[in-house]
Symmetry: C2
Subunit: 108 residues, 2 copies
């Protein structure tokens, strides 16, 4: 039992390190999202940091439309980034977890 506990703690420590390494790696993974007509383009990392926003000149004529376009495109970008983030980190965390039925669903 004591040996089990030590093994489990060692595995958790290893998992923590893998989680940290994965988080760092996700800073370098970028995703692009555009509005349907391409008038707004957003570049975001898999850690949900916005790197670039490109707005077409035509949108500067109508502020409300611009704001709406930004909200839609940014939310799609954030959702995509979150999906990649959770998939990558979830895989690492699941791998390192003690095998208790139902536990993996906590990482979705």
């Amino acid at each position: 039992m004591f040996g089990d506990m030590m093994g489990m703690m060692g595995k958790l420590k290893e998992t923590q390190q893998k989680v940290e390494a994965t988080k760092k790696r996700l800073d370098t993974v970028t995703l692009e999202e555009k509005s349907n007509d391409g008038f707004v383009a957003v570049t975001i990392t898999a850690n949900r940091e916005i790197k670039k926003i490109a707005i077409d000149d035509s949108l500067l004529q109508d502020k409300e439309q611009l704001e709406d376009y930004l909200i839609l495109t940014l939310n799609k970008a954030i959702q995509n980034a979150t999906r990649v983030n959770e998939t990558e980190l979830g895989a690492v965390a699941k791998e390192g977890m003690p095998n208790i039925p139902g536990m993996d669903s906590l990482f979705k």
Copy 2:
């Protein structure tokens, strides 16, 4: 041992339900972030969904400045939302975890 396992599974199921309930509740928690001069204001939920972007007319004259303001203010808003999200969900998950030293750090 069998009893322990059943108790652990029951607790995990309960935790999953609490996590789901917390996620739902975080949809109703909104945070506001503004640029220093207040020319860009962003409203975001604790689940990182942007609800509102308000741009001052003056920023429409300079697209590059507008894009820079948006990136800065949005990233601050997303970071704040993430902090609230992780604090709230982390507290629920930690409470429901079997007590293994080091495990809680996986939820940070």
